[in-house]
């Protein structure tokens, strides 16, 4: 019990809050330290809060204060569980292509997270991103199809504030998107493959649509997408998503001469023949799994309701002076003096 009372110390709360503030700033300014360090003061504050709720008698008489602190404790609990259960990653999907869990770049994955991305069936449709003059991005519309839990294939338009939740994973269209070259490979050994090479983000890198592609035979090729006319227009309204513009692709194998190809044309490379099939777009998605996020919101709102209750029942009445009218009159006299 003595330990619990020590843990419930109000002074310890202040130490925890100060430590959290300092470590939050230090952690964000020093990538080597990272913000993960803030978990220690949060853990300390959680224990402190739990002990205070068990031992501090003030919570028995002040309902608003109790509700606020219970809400805060629930927020901490949600943060802790979220760290263990969460998933955060991103993926690029080419128009007409299917989501491939193997291509997802994981940013963070909690220790208790059971990765089920491989079960997701999702297909990318057309993409439209509208811009105002000055390349000011406006609405984003990305058409997708996905297999719902019921087995039904559903079509939905995502973008901006509209996302899709598939088996608990939230897919949100990001600002990142670009063009993709659909290439067909026919090896000398008869093997055939169809794949998409994603070019750099557009229009962020419209001046440098160059990337490196490695053939199935291991040869490195520099690919450059070159449109006959400028695609983006910063002086007028413009939409990203069209793929019917005339273009050519420059193939530059390492140490060899550059060759320029139009759509449908082929070029002989080491160990096979590659054909430029089509131009597509790719769309990037942020994928996250945060099962406790709605509960974290509820807990935070509960804390705010508790604070407001405490304010209305304790703080506001305590400030009301006895005979305030007379005091105001007195003040008026002083103000006029």
């Amino acid at each position: 019990m003595r330990v619990v009372k020590l843990l419930a110390s109000l002074r310890l709360t202040l130490v925890g809050m100060l430590a959290l503030a300092v470590l939050a700033v230090v952690g964000t300014r020093n990538p080597a330290i990272g913000t993960g360090i803030t978990i220690w003061p949060i853990a300390l504050l959680t224990l402190n809060l739990l002990a205070a709720l068990l031992t501090n008698k003030v919570f028995r008489t002040q309902t608003g204060l109790l509700v606020f602190h219970v809400g805060l404790l629930l927020v901490f609990a949600c943060i802790g569980l979220t760290l263990l259960l969460r998933y955060d990653g991103h993926v690029e999907i080419v128009q007409g292509g299917a989501f491939d869990a193997g291509l997802v770049e994981t940013v963070e994955q909690g220790r208790w997270h059971d990765n089920r991305l491989g079960d997701i069936e999702l297909y990318q449709g057309e993409v439209r991103v509208n811009y105002l003059p000055g390349l000011n991005r406006q609405d984003t519309r990305s058409s997708i199809e996905y297999r719902a839990a019921s087995g039904e294939l559903r079509h939905i338009m995502v973008g901006d504030t509209r996302t899709v939740n598939i088996d608990g994973y939230r897919f949100a269209a990001s600002f990142n998107k670009g063009f993709a070259l659909l290439l067909h490979w026919k090896g000398a050994d008869g093997r055939e493959a169809l794949g998409a090479v994603h070019m750099p983000s557009f229009p962020s890198f419209d001046w440098k649509q160059v990337t490196t592609w490695t053939t199935p035979e291991g040869q490195e090729i520099e690919l450059e997408l070159d449109f006959d006319q400028r695609v983006s227009d910063d002086r007028a309204d413009w939409s990203f998503g069209r793929t019917d513009m005339p273009f050519s692709v420059r193939f530059t194998p390492a140490g060899e001469a550059q060759r320029s190809l139009r759509s449908g044309a082929s070029v002989e490379l080491a160990g096979g023949l590659v054909q430029v099939v089509d131009l597509r777009v790719w769309m990037a998605y942020q994928i996250e799994y945060l099962p406790l996020l709605p509960w974290m919101f509820v807990a935070a709102m509960l804390a705010i309701v508790g604070l407001t209750l405490h304010f209305a029942s304790r703080v506001l009445p305590a400030s009301a002076p006895a005979g305030s009218r007379a005091e105001e009159d007195d003040y008026g006299h002083v103000a006029r003096a």
Binding site: L18, L20, T35, N136, D160, T161, V315, P321, V334, A335
Partner: protein
Amino acid sequence: MVMSLALERQLVLVSVAMLLAATLVQFAGLVSGRAAYRPTAVIYAGVVILLGAAITGRWIREHQGPFLTLYEILLSGVFSLALMFLLISVLVPAVRGGWLVTSPLLLILGVWLTGVSELAVPLPGAFKTPWLWAHVLSGKLFLGFCLAAMATASVMLISGAGSGERTAKLTPFPEQSEKMIWVLFFAAFICHSFMLVAGAVWAHSAWGHYWSWDPLETWTLVTWLILGGTLHARATFRNMPQGMGHVLVLVAFVVAFLTFFGVPFFSIAPHKGLM
């Protein structure tokens, strides 16, 4: 009829000139020992009307609220702070001494406002959510309450430091002013808490992350911790000198102010989004 940018600029310039007048009236009142509540209140009402007209005209012309650029944040900031302090001081006479502090502060923001580009930038699609409104409105309420608490605490510090009758007149009812500082500070804490939650919901819908530890978010959390820590310290150390509490309120406001208006030093448009 749509208000031109030139007219909007003139309204802003006149408002800044009026804030200069309010500051001079306040300092003249301090030097002469005469209260300057009424003329200052009239000037503030004028500032609120002119800036309100400038914001409305801009809103109609640009088809969007003042949420994005540094100019818009300053314009709506000066308007909301002037309006809130005017309303609070009308309702609560015990905070009226705070004009002495708010007037030069709003003047500085006003002068800064005249030096930044007024050109509007279209709101990205991800900004079209009611959570943006909830976030911005609670933020304005927070800073308004915090300003009133800080201004009252500051004049109490000034009147406590000075020994003359003139400074004593700044806070004729110190007990009532002391109570109001904490009422306003507590109200600021509630608004700030809601601003944090609404901001997280909005960020999640706009950028896919409810919390990213960017400078704005980090310093908003630090501000919340200072606000909560100050209230906690007051409850913990009941014998804490009054002046110490006032200094803590001042520190909380300075951090909040730098978070609101200092972030533009890191990013010229804190909520612009990415191309």
